[in-house]
Symmetry: C2
Subunit: 302 residues, 2 copies
């Protein structure tokens, strides 16, 4: 009965409601006949369940997390809302496939600037296979993960009408150094980006509006930190922090719409009464980078 | 001239002033003709400079740290005072050897209970040799380091006149599991230890006197944490937190003499503007363990 009902829903949905997300910055992309996530025009994000155990693990996380009364709305808002599983035509043309139905975290935003930051100096976990451990360890050492406790996985920064978005190639992002990360986190909140690839020193003119202040990214990250100092339910291996805002809103004098979301839970493990010190350490490192930018900017303006 | 003066000092010191420390719980020990640290009766701890670069690196750390005006006394008190280098007869009979002269952090204490906790889920660092990295990684995975963000390296707990000290063998300590660590951290502040190796549930009757309260271990660890959230000068790879107190003082109704010290700086590296997220994460995990014990105890008593 459940299956038939599901098929009915699927049949009622018009395929052209689904499209490739405009503002995805990392992960598999549903372009050129590849398998990747889709979005609809109602604010949902459809993430195909992978054939290996990643899909089932992410589904298990969302199912468990959604049903835990001890997670307050205060913390829940940092996670995409979970709407269940739905079978729909996969983006690679391989036919119907179950997808996680999640909140599209950039839905309704106009020209959002987005950065995806994978948190943790270690992206592997004890239970993983030796092969997986070695591959992750190699990547953690080659990128900034080991040194900084996080690495930038992808980004797009809106420069303005003329310059559009700055979205560096995956290979460029993967080779970011400490200096590049510092530069990108400054550029993310800067106004002087009309030549998007310029090496001009970012002016950080939006730092206080986006990173600082009540409700700004820094204060959201600090709330997350407080939770991570205490929660021992989950270890968020290889998860990302997504930071989003809208430059044009700031320019219009409106709120920046700055938002922090956690995404990618395919490798979450049980905490067993121990805090996620790996995520927490990386998060504190990111917080230090952002607060340095806020403090530097305040110094300049005062 | 400097050398002659040094020799004169050495000559003036009577060899029997030096002895093997009574309360060392981890690291190389100066027993059975081996090379290890010595103490004198004036409160100094003499740590032999190793032939490899560990000795020179630890000396470099102490020299730099001692001379930094930005380190306030508030933080400096968590580190052993550094008194320079002195050449004295090595404990292994190999002749004169330079030793770091440090504060003996348990000097003057009667029957101190001591636990040495190596902080960090990762004890290696990027610049180390592949061989060193692999050995550390193996040990981090075999012990609780990877899981908890720290491991107990050694301990001695005073049980009372009759039972004396409980000081488990190195091999026992190295095989501690999550449950053992939780047990030891409770046992460390318990009174019901007359049969020292008993499996009786620790009563944690000293938890509030030793871990809790103003000046207790928890509040000291929280002060350290605050510093680590901000300091980007050093990465304290493979350092230990030493926790010390005197049971008999508590029983007499005096202060517990609870003290936290950082020790072992042979693998400290420069921070280069990045916080030590690896140490901080592990420290936060330890803090959670200790605060759980304090909270559980308070619940029982209220």
């Amino acid at each position: 009965m459940h299956l038939n009902y599901q098929l009915l829903i699927d049949a009622l949905r018009v395929p052209n409601m689904f499209k490739v997300p405009d503002h995805q910055v990392a992960g598999h992309e549903a372009r050129d006949g590849k398998l990747g996530p889709l979005v609809d025009d109602l604010g949902c994000f459809y993430k195909p369940l992978q054939d290996d155990d990643r899909g089932s693990k992410e589904l298990a996380f969302y199912t468990k997390f959604s049903s835990m009364p001890e997670i307050t709305s205060h913390i829940r808002r940092f996670f995409p809302t979970f709407h269940g599983v739905q079978t729909l035509a996969a983006s690679d043309g391989s036919g119907p496939r179950p997808h996680l139905v999640l909140q599209d975290v950039v839905f309704g935003r106009v020209n959002p600037s987005v950065v995806d930051i994978k948190i943790g100096s270690r992206t592997w976990y004890p239970q993983a296979s030796e092969d997986y451990v070695n591959r992750c360890l190699k990547k953690d050492r080659e990128t900034t993960s080991l040194l900084l406790g996080f690495r930038i996985s992808g980004l797009k920064i809106y420069g303005g009408d003329r310059s559009g978005f700055w979205k560096p190639e995956k290979k460029v992002v993967q080779s970011f150094t400490l200096q590049d990360v510092r530069f990108v986190l400054r550029k993310f909140v800067s106004c002087n980006l009309e030549t998007p690839d310029s090496v001009t020193d970012p002016d950080c003119s939006f730092a206080s509006a986006v990173y600082g202040g009540t409700g700004g990214i820094l204060s959201q990250l600090l709330e997350l930190k407080e939770w991570f100092e205490d929660q021992t339910m989950f270890h968020f291996n290889s998860c990302s922090v997504l930071m989003v805002y809208e430059k044009e809103s700031v320019l219009r004098g409106e709120t920046s719409g700055a938002e922090v979301k956690l995404i990618d839970f395919a490798h979450v493990t049980e905490g067993d009464g121990v805090i996620d010190h790996n995520f927490l350490g990386g998060l504190c490192s990111l917080i230090k980078f952002i607060s340095d930018i806020v403090n530097d900017t305040e110094k300049c303006w005062n």
